[in-house]
């Protein structure tokens, strides 16, 4: 594994830890089973268990719940349903979380109406898990069933323009020129319809909440599976009329999220409600079927029309999308806008619409909108490159954008061209025979090589951190952020260690507790950037205090030096000009007599820069597939994923993010689909056996290339984030490689055997 050290935030030194492939600090806890997830915390006193009952019907009304039958079972404590749910906050805004879309949020057990199949309708609480599960299984519930509609294809006529209402949602860009005329007149053109159906996040850890009832008034410790403890806290506090102090949320480890844990899920509502009503510690864990009752990547229909002139320059881009949403909320994704950022044409038209169906609200799922849009766009671009008689890679370079055409702004940095070149060199693209069906391996299998690009926004959110340096020289930094596997623990430790020039072993980073300074939900690839800047600022404040104390020492070598002229290296403060003018941090602390130094740090977006610049990460994915035409099987045998995402804090964990994103791309392309039975209005493959994701045997060689960018405009610490970008391009590159291998253009995901034979 080769790697180069990125420019650290201060100066370039051997002792730098930023940019080094350092093992995860929480690694030993995770591999030894010591890391505690939400359902694994001990509580004060006995623990009761809640088991959720889900609706078997998609639309209708509960007419009778035979609770008395299960309450007669010894050990069953309570059956919660709309019949006995306590009176809670009345207005919608209490149920709105930080990332809620527009509309009226779902209120669990609020009323007898059923709005989607698998809607939670009751919580059975008993003294053991086994008893709660048994009682839930024998609970009889009667429903009046109404006619439902869960069919997107037959509801196109009811589509409406996606409204604003969700933070971060960008409406489609305005049209340019005359799309229809340009398309009609162009010598090279393609038009196609692209489809994928619902996909569910399915993190390995099922959603769970353990409420530790402390018996002291209403105070609780709420251990929740979430991607953002502060978001859950404000949701719970508003609904149940609690102070923030009374609704402490703790989330030390999150067993994957991928977007499923951005919004508070219903098990936390149910667990807290039951704990408050019963004044008792309680644990509620969803089962795997119920993991399909929450948000999902929505079934989306897309139409693209692209046209190019004789030289292969794009003349027309039209990208329209229609996605499903629930009857009660308008979940919106940014689907089509990427087509106006990656490419430019004088004539464009963009459209994004929603249709309401009797389903739960969709949710952001890894690279939301972009994964959907980029599959269609990059498939169509590939098709047009063949139409125009150009190599697919050459065609992309020919239509490269140096400015963001969607907003006419310069990029703060964009090394997608280097991703193309470095990726192609690594992959061996020059050996590609451009003709479809022209390449075979030694066993006679058809070989296809495909390329596709991706783009994701590099954004900063408001975040805060606290740093404490104790007299023993140990630095502890905390922020209520999250680590769903992204590497937050280790990169924040690196950031703190780097800023104050301390060894990693002398730094601890804590997260996932609402008693810590607030941080945004972990999503959108913004954690490394936002929380990283807050951590750096908090540590710099400690640094300023250290300098002041150092200057109070007798004959201080740092007398009269400004903070900007001081560096923190190897446990010392020293001047940039003359590194022999140096004082050990340990000596400063000892001389000061202070037990500890404390400082807060904040970070947030820079609105002026956002007005002036377009901030994006990019990637280029190169894929080899092998297709057995007799069986219709497709194997992705090789991937090169080249990513330009600013500074890489830790190449080891960042590489893992891109490996994971690549696997998600393979999964989206070849496997993932939640089958909706339209007669039942219900997902029918709601388990891990029938909802397919890759196994170890499905994944082969993946090379990751980081094309680093120096960019202090997109982020004060130069970081753009890598959580989403690695997934982009991959699905389209696979579809393009399948075309190259077979001559067959498949526009519907997943690319299963039936679509190829």
């Amino acid at each position: 594994m080769s790697q180069t050290i990125a420019t650290p935030p201060t100066v370039r030194l051997d002792s730098d830890v930023i940019g080094k492939p350092i093992n995860r600090t929480e690694g030993p806890a995770k591999v030894s089973g010591a890391a505690k997830y939400a359902a694994e915390f001990d509580v004060t006193g006995p623990l009761w268990y809640g088991y959720i009952v889900s609706s078997p019907v998609a639309k209708g009304k509960i007419t009778k719940i035979h609770a008395e039958e299960v309450l007669a079972i010894p050990g069953v404590q309570r059956v919660f349903s709309h019949e006995n749910v306590p009176s809670l906050a009345w207005f919608d805004r209490a149920y709105k979380d930080d990332v809620a879309p527009g509309g009226s949020p779902f209120r669990p057990l609020h009323e007898p109406e059923i709005m989607f199949s698998q809607q939670p309708v009751a919580l059975v609480v008993a003294e053991t898990f086994e008893l709660a599960r048994y009682a839930a299984s024998v609970l009889r519930i009667e429903y009046d069933v109404e006619k439902h509609n869960t069919d997107l294809e037959s509801s196109i006529g009811e589509a409406f323009d996606a409204p604003k209402g969700k933070t971060g949602f960008l409406p489609p860009p305005k049209p340019k020129g005359d799309m229809n005329k340009a398309f009609a007149d162009a010598p090279h053109k393609v038009a196609g319809e692209y489809i994928h159906r619902a996909q569910h996040h399915n993190p390995m850890e099922m959603f769970a909440t353990t409420v530790d009832w402390l018996g002291d008034g209403k105070k609780m410790k709420i251990y929740d599976k979430t991607q953002g403890a502060p978001n859950v806290q404000q949701y719970i506090a508003k609904i149940f009329g609690l102070s923030k102090d009374e609704a402490r949320i703790i989330s030390k480890y999150t067993g994957g999220g991928f977007g499923a844990g951005l919004r508070p899920q219903y098990q936390v509502f149910l667990a807290v409600m039951a704990a408050l009503e019963l004044e008792h510690s309680i644990r509620v864990v969803m089962n795997r079927s119920q993991m399909f009752s929450m948000g999902y990547r929505p079934h989306t229909l897309q139409k693209l029309r692209l046209a190019a002139d004789d030289l292969g320059h794009l003349q027309a881009i039209e990208h329209k999308a229609l996605a499903e949403t629930s009857q009660f909320e308008n979940e919106t994704e940014t689907v089509v806008n990427w087509s106006a950022i990656l490419y430019d044409a004088p004539n464009t038209n963009f459209d994004y619409q929603l249709t309401k169906l009797d389903l739960n609200t969709p949710a952001d799922m890894r690279a939301p909108g972009a994964a959907t849009g980029s599959f269609a766009l990059e498939s169509a671009i590939d098709e047009l490159s063949y139409e125009a008689g150009k190599d697919p890679l050459e065609f992309r370079l020919l239509n490269y954008t140096y400015e963001d055409p969607s907003e006419n702004k310069p990029f703060t940095s964009k090394r997608l061209d280097d991703c193309y070149h470095e990726g192609a060199a690594r992959f061996g693209w020059e050996k590609r025979n451009p003709a479809p069906r022209s390449m075979r391996d030694e066993k006679g299998l058809l070989v296809g090589w495909g390329v596709a690009a991706g783009c994701w926004d590099a954004s900063t959110q408001k975040a805060a951190a606290k740093a404490v340096l104790t007299a023993d020289g140990h630095l502890t930094v905390s922020s209520a952020t999250n680590d769903q596997g992204a590497g937050t623990y280790v990169i924040m430790t690196q950031m703190a260690a780097q800023t104050l020039g301390l060894p990693m072993s002398q730094v601890t980073f804590n997260l996932g507790d609402t008693d810590m300074p607030a941080a945004p939900v972990q999503g959108g690839s913004w954690t490394a950037n936002s929380v990283g800047a807050a951590v750096k600022n908090a540590c710099q404040e400690i640094g300023k205090k250290l300098l002041k104390l150092a200057q109070k020492m007798d004959d201080s070598p740092l007398a009269g030096v400004d903070f900007e002229d001081v560096q923190f290296v190897d446990g010392h403060l020293r001047t940039n000009e003359d590194i022999t003018r140096s004082v050990a941090i340990a000596d400063v602390l000892a001389a000061s007599g202070e037990a500890k130094l404390e400082a807060d740090g904040k970070a947030g977006p820079n609105p002026l820069n956002m007005l002036k610049y377009s901030m994006h990460s990019h990637n280029a994915a190169f894929v080899e597939v092998k297709v057995d035409e007799d069986l219709g099987t497709i194997h992705v045998t090789r991937v090169v994923n080249a990513v330009a995402a600013g500074r890489i804090m830790n190449p080891k964990t960042a590489r893992s993010q891109v490996l994971g994103g690549t696997v998600w791309g393979v999964s989206m392309a070849l496997m993932e689909e939640t089958y909706l039975n339209k007669d039942l209005g219900r997902y029918v493959n709601h388990n891990y056996a029938e909802y397919h994701i890759p196994t170890n045997a499905d994944i082969h060689k993946i090379d990751v290339i980081f094309v680093e960018e120096e960019d202090d405009i997109a982020s004060s610490i130069g970081v753009k984030g890598v959580g989403e970008i690695g997934m982009l391009g991959v699905a389209a590159a696979i579809a393009n490689a399948v075309y190259h291998a077979t001559g067959k253009r498949v526009r519907e995901l997943p690319l299963t055997i039936d679509k190829l034979l």
């Binding site: 030993p28 591999v31 009046d144 596997g485």
Partner: protein, 192 residues
Amino acid sequence: MSLTFIQEPLDKTAPRVVPAQSVTLHVNGQARTIQIAPWTSLLDALREYLDLTGTKKGCDHGQCGACTVLVDGKRINSCLALATVYQGKQIQTIEGLGTEDNLSPLQQAFVDHDAFQCGYCTPGQICSAQGLINEGRCKTVDEVREHMSGNLCRCGAYTNILSAVMEVLHDGEAVVDNGVLITIPAQPTKAL
């Protein structure tokens, strides 16, 4: 038109609740006695009654492998096992393979190769890999991929899991052609 649906057990003669009974399990070299209902899974016995939460519940249906433990050295899905049946067997969980301060070679290899992200499937992956090593029949990359495919990893750490397992399987001698990392350094920013 009104249609009624009654949600009820498929089997109208659902079994009655059976009282808890005393069960003794030998876990990680210790005999532990607990009071559990006879339909308690080995997974729930470990997690909810013995406070051995290193063993994970990912599906409860034998589909994901997160609950993998070793019984007399062989890997099983503990969610598909009734605890009471495993009395008298030697059960080893992730906690029995090594501790945070004293990791087993396999656990250390998982850390070094970054063979996990969220960490939730990890104890199952490691127990499964230990079982695979105990079985002694897998040597090649393809064999290990196949025989580690009962353990899902939604984060997609598969290539690194393979590297970690191959390293321990071959005492550090195996080189897996599994993909590399290349970093192209940043260019100085052009004036905007």
